[in-house]
């Protein structure tokens, strides 16, 4: 009497990106951009290690004397650490970005599915990667500028990253919405709100 082939529900899969030379180049550039901003952001935080040198009381970390290590390290060793930290940060942030991009893509894909617009994952990732490259480079440049203006850094550090995040999302919007019918613009902006809030919070 019953047919056992009735589908209960249908969940469309978010398309997967098939990498080509352009997407790979963009990913490399993005990783470089993250490293660039981390290197200069890290400069300020790396120098916080100096705290362990001015008072050895600060330097007991799990029973290990950072004071000793820092006091006796050669400049080359210190520079190696200074480069290693941003590399580790870059790897972590890049992985977080991949998760973020997938989440964002699924949001856009599902909404586009509802309104019946073709979703091109390659186009999406190219636009998002490019806007993030701009963001990371601007954040790095901001760090360099504020290193010259330490007094302005307090507030520069507060205002610049969220503004740069908004700017990069605007770049994404203008790039990704090209070719999209204007009547769908509000919907695209609406989809972008949650990812934008995430960026503003963590930028």
């Amino acid at each position: 009497m019953q047919n056992n082939v009735t589908p209960m529900f249908v969940r469309p899969r978010t398309p997967k990106l098939k990498n080509d030379w352009m997407t790979i180049v963009l990913k490399v550039l993005l990783a470089a951009g993250i490293f660039f901003s981390m290197l200069y952001f890290g400069k300020r935080n790396f120098n916080s290690l100096f705290m362990t040198m001015i008072d050895s009381s600060y330097s007991s970390f799990m029973g290990v004397s950072l004071f000793t290590y820092l006091s006796t390290m050669t400049p080359t060793a210190l520079i190696m650490i200074k480069i290693t930290f941003p590399i580790i940060a870059t790897v972590i942030l890049f992985l977080l970005y991949i998760v973020f991009a997938k989440f964002f893509a699924s949001l856009v894909f599902r909404q586009y599915m509802i309104i019946g617009v073709q979703f091109d994952i390659r186009r999406f990732r190219v636009c998002l990667d490019s806007s993030f490259i701009i963001m990371t480079v601007l954040l790095g440049v901001g760090e360099i500028i504020f290193a010259q203006l330490p007094l302005a850094y307090n507030f520069g550090n507060i205002f610049v990253p969220p503004i740069v995040a908004l700017l990069s999302m605007s770049v994404f919007f203008f790039a990704f919405s090209r070719g999209l019918e204007k009547r769908f613009y509000p919907i695209l902006i609406h989809i972008m709100i949650i990812p934008t809030i995430m960026l503003v919070l963590f930028a």
Binding site: R44, S71, L151, P186, I193
Partner: protein, 471 residues
């Protein structure tokens, strides 16, 4: 024609934005040059460099161990007390029968046999002496330095005491202070001149913190300036007056007559603070000395220090180009200093510091210095807008406002889309008639769940409003 006007408008807008940015940035930095008038002072002899060098040798031979809580720091404090008393300085402080000692108990950690050992309630001694003016006092000029070192530190794999006499950190500054005290013992500048030899400089300048934190506002306001001498005999000599340019800073640099190097803009800062309610929420190498705690209490300060601030060879800071740092290492010894800087180089830099100080504190220039100091209060950075607390508050408020705005925009768009759904999705009605194929044009890959799935069949049965017991 229209395009031309549009182009002009764009240029005008771009220029306006750039001008605004420049105005905002210069308002933050406030780096205008200050005009100062400094008269040449005769009689400041280069032999004073030799004298200071002699003091360094005395320190090495008689008081190499000045470690806080190590025992010999007390002996050295007594030496300072006797020396200053002999030169006619007086003090409101005493510890036991020893004049000039501000004794206090402190707790800190030191590495002993590669283990962090806490030293509790250790007696520490600041040595404070003043020469009061015979005239109506215009205020107090403080000359400060640390006198302790890390001679007994054992943060080393060998577990042996370092034996570092601390010539770079504290030795040179001590020698300068003693020379200045000797030179100024008979000079009446119209100011009370205080010499403060602080202890605990190797442990976050505990002595200076102890001294500054016991001063009330009235006493702090009476301090015209704190001239601090910290690490000396590096590559270049700097006078760090704070994060903003000040008239008194320009005056002191003019007194140096070319011996000092301009503090670079990129100051390689570290994101930490030494005490709550710090003026800045970061530090740089210029801030890190005794005067820091006075600066945090809005007292004008100037720190004489010597390093190579322009070099990035060492990511933390570089004392001398091409040479390893000795700060807080077993290598901070007089022997190493001689090898790095040479006797003549040491004497020359010590003399530059002494000459600069004596020129500023001479009868010829004291009035100019006083008028420069009068402007110090107005030149202090807007602390409420710069400090760590207000920055954190603004950070939270700014992000909260931005997120609230984004959520607001989200709701506005939502209501707009609902109101204008006919315009946005005119085919909606048609689609609803064909509800079985919402994505009939097959735009997407789909993942189908439930096909040939016995479990789902069971669930379907459970969810059926009427269970047929006969089926």
């Amino acid at each position: 024609m229209r395009n031309k006007t549009f182009g002009k408008r764009r240029i005008f807008t771009a220029l306006s934005i750039m001008t605004l940015l420049v105005l905002i940035l210069t308002a933050f930095v406030g780096c205008s040059a200050k005009n100062v008038d400094v008269k040449k002072v005769d009689g400041i002899d280069a032999a004073l460099g030799d004298k200071a060098f002699g003091y360094m040798q005395t320190l090495l031979t008689q008081y190499a161990d000045r470690t806080l809580g190590g025992g010999n720091d007390f002996e050295f404090a007594k030496y300072l007390s006797k020396t200053m008393s002999d030169w006619g300085y007086t003090s409101e402080f005493s510890h036991g029968d020893i004049l000039g000692l501000q004794g206090f108990k402190t707790t800190f950690s030191r590495y002993v046999n590669y283990a962090n050992e806490e030293l509790s309630d250790v007696w520490a001694y600041n040595v404070i002496f003043t020469k009061h003016t015979s005239q109506q006092s215009k205020g107090e000029i403080m000359l400060t330095c640390q006198y302790d070192n890390l001679y007994q530190e054992q943060a080393d794999m060998s577990g042996k005491p370092w034996g570092a006499d601390g010539s770079y950190e504290s030795g040179g500054a001590l020698a300068v202070m003693l020379t200045l005290a000797e030179q100024l013992k008979d000079v009446d500048l119209g100011y009370d001149v205080t010499f403060a030899f602080f202890t605990g400089g190797s442990y976050c300048w505990r002595g200076a913190l102890q001294y500054a934190s016991q001063l009330d506002r009235e006493k702090l306001d009476s301090i015209a300036i704190v001239l601090n001498y910290s690490m000396l005999c590096g590559d270049n000599l700097y006078i760090y007056e704070g994060e903003t340019k000040t008239t008194y800073g320009s005056f002191l640099n003019a007194c140096a007559d070319g011996a000092t190097t301009k503090v670079p803009n990129d100051r390689n800062i570290g994101q930490f603070i030494l005490e709550q309610d710090s003026v800045y929420n970061y530090v740089n190498i210029g801030m890190l000395s005794n005067q820091h705690y006075f600066m945090n209490r809005y007292v004008p300060t100037a720190n004489f220090l010597s390093l190579n601030w322009e070099s990035n060879a060492n990511p933390l800071f570089t004392e001398m180009s091409g040479k390893p740092n000795v700060y807080h290492t077993p290598d901070d010894t007089f022997e190493n200093m001689l090898a790095r800087k040479g006797e003549e180089g040491i004497k020359a830099q010590l003399f530059d510091v002494i000459k600069t100080s004596l020129t500023a504190l001479s009868s010829e220039n004291i009035d100019s210095f006083a008028s420069a100091l009068e402007k110090a209060e107005s030149e202090f950075p807007n602390a409420t807008a710069q400090n760590a607390k207000s920055a954190s508050l603004v950070n939270v408020v700014f992000k909260a406002v931005l997120i609230a705005l984004l959520i607001g925009v989200s709701y506005l768009i939502k209501s707009y889309v609902f109101k204008n759904s006919d315009k946005i999705m005119p085919q909606k009605q048609e689609q609803s008639e064909n509800i079985e194929e919402p994505f009939g044009d097959n735009l997407y890959d789909t993942e189908v769940f439930g096909e040939n799935d016995g479990d789902n069949e069971d669930k379907e049965k459970e969810n059926t409003p009427f269970n047929d017991p006969f089926e």
